[in-house]
């Protein structure tokens, strides 16, 4: 059987999302490395896999997929459906809700902070403090909702861990290395939820591929 292949650079939180799901599901896969610096994602052979020229791409048998959350859903639907709420209508709806929350509420704010505080300096720029400030406030409000939610159930979508929780891991892995990690540290349930997430064997394995400096070499 042809192995599952993931194309991309593992430092990308989007690629890491796909890898995390494969690790959680115990699926054998091959990570096909690509170089962002060399523009591999804009070459015709990659555009044939993802016409938007982004990573990750997943190949599973004859199926070629892009968009990390779609890849995540496919991997879990096929190999570990209990992480999507199983067949239960209400449970799967609740997983879907919190996965959408991750995408629309959490990621834009946390991602903006990571971009300004981690990526910009690595590219020789300075963080835009106005953008940082705005997004730290947005994220604070979002995490306050999470704090309340985690008072009602052990995980975001209920008492069982799901893709809704896992989907947060990649960007938070980088966010927690910034000075703004204090936001999470100040919310006891969110902090405990994050620490448990990060301690999962699958998360630890994927984090090894995600150095805090995104793999950029230090400038002299």
């Amino acid at each position: 059987m042809a192995p599952v292949k993931v194309y991309g650079w593992a430092v990308s939180p989007f690629v890491a999302r796909a890898l995390l799901c494969l690790e959680e599901a115990g699926v054998e896969y091959e990570l096909v490395p690509m170089s962002r610096a060399a523009g591999d994602h804009r070459r015709p052979e990659h555009l044939a896999r993802n016409p938007f020229g982004q990573v990750p791409v997943l190949e599973d048998g004859g199926l070629t997929l892009f968009e990390s959350r779609a890849i995540a859903r496919h991997v879990l639907r096929k190999y570990k459906p209990e992480l999507l709420g199983g067949g239960d209508l209400a449970a799967s709806a609740t997983v879907d809700v919190w996965l959408e929350v991750e995408a629309h509420q959490h990621h834009p704010a946390a991602g903006a902070v990571v971009k300004e505080c981690v990526v910009s300096p690595l590219l020789g720029g300075a963080p835009d403090q106005a953008v940082v400030g705005e997004n730290v406030e947005k994220l604070r409000k979002v995490l306050e909702v999470y704090e309340a939610r985690l008072g009602q159930s052990r995980y975001l979508a209920g008492d069982l861990v799901s893709l809704a929780d896992l989907s947060h891991f990649p960007i938070m892995r980088y966010f927690m290395d910034t000075e703004h990690a204090a936001l999470v540290e100040a919310l006891p349930r969110v902090k405990a939820w994050w620490e448990e997430l990060a301690a999962r064997p699958a998360a630890r394995k994927v984090a090894e591929l995600m150095p805090p400096n995104f793999g950029f070499s230090k400038k002299p």
């Binding site: 938007f52 639907r77 809700v97 629309h104």
Partner: protein
């Protein structure tokens, strides 16, 4: 008890949910939320949508937010699962891919355009920021090039079957068609035909009327 949707029909995210209810023919009640008066931030609404947004949705004891999550629940429960293809791994995966594209590419470019061209002048007494509109029209065109190539190969986005991935585009597509930048799709004939096909669905026509009526009231 009928399912309840909380929010104004003119909201694209509310309309997305309404079209799924119409597709499966389930009874529902549309409960208004007056956003001009800040009702979406009221304790009652926030208890249903903790981010103070619309829509919120209730089916018995189950309360949901996020329109694409609500839409999937309605389709699964109401006999509309052919629009999700969850019985077929490959097809379901393609639906998910193009639903992510709808959200991440199409909606994210259209949303600022619609905000500037409709909400700002009609509800906020302001002037359209053309720089924002132009920037996002450029993003939209880049996405539409990809859609055009895709729809030249397949009748619909996920394959030769219509799905939630297609229908999910209709609310923003509606505002594009009735707004000042409708001609942007003329350069993409397959996209134009696909939009016309989606807009001709009885469910979409019904909800479009609700959206238009809601706007006329304001």
């Amino acid at each position: 008890m009928a399912m309840k949707v909380y929010g104004p029909a003119a909201s694209t995210n509310v309309a997305r949910v309404l079209v799924c209810l119409e597709e499966v023919g389930l009874d529902y009640e549309l409960v208004p939320v007056d956003m001009t008066k800040g009702e979406h931030k009221s304790p009652a609404h926030v208890s249903r949508n903790p981010f103070g947004q619309v829509p919120a949705f209730q089916d018995g004891d189950l309360i949901l937010s996020e329109s694409r999550a609500i839409s999937k629940y309605i389709l699964r429960k109401g006999g509309g699962s052919h629009l999700l293809r969850e019985g077929n791994l490959s097809e379901a995966a393609m639906v998910d891919v193009w639903l992510e594209v709808e959200s991440g590419q199409f909606d994210s470019a259209m949303s600022p355009i619609v905000f500037q061209c409709f909400v700002v002048p009609m509800f906020m007494g302001g002037t359209t920021d053309m720089k924002v509109v132009e920037e996002n029209l450029e993003k939209l065109k880049k996405s539409l090039e990809v859609y055009e190539a895709r729809l030249s190969r397949f009748k619909y986005l996920a394959g030769d079957f219509v799905s939630l991935a297609d229908i999910s585009h209709f609310p923003m597509a509606h505002y594009l068609l009735v707004g000042p930048h409708a001609s942007v799709i003329d350069a993409y004939p397959h996209v134009k035909a696909w939009i016309a096909d989606i807009m001709s669905r009885p469910s979409v026509k019904k909800v479009t009327e609700l959206m238009e009526a809601a706007i006329r009231m304001n």
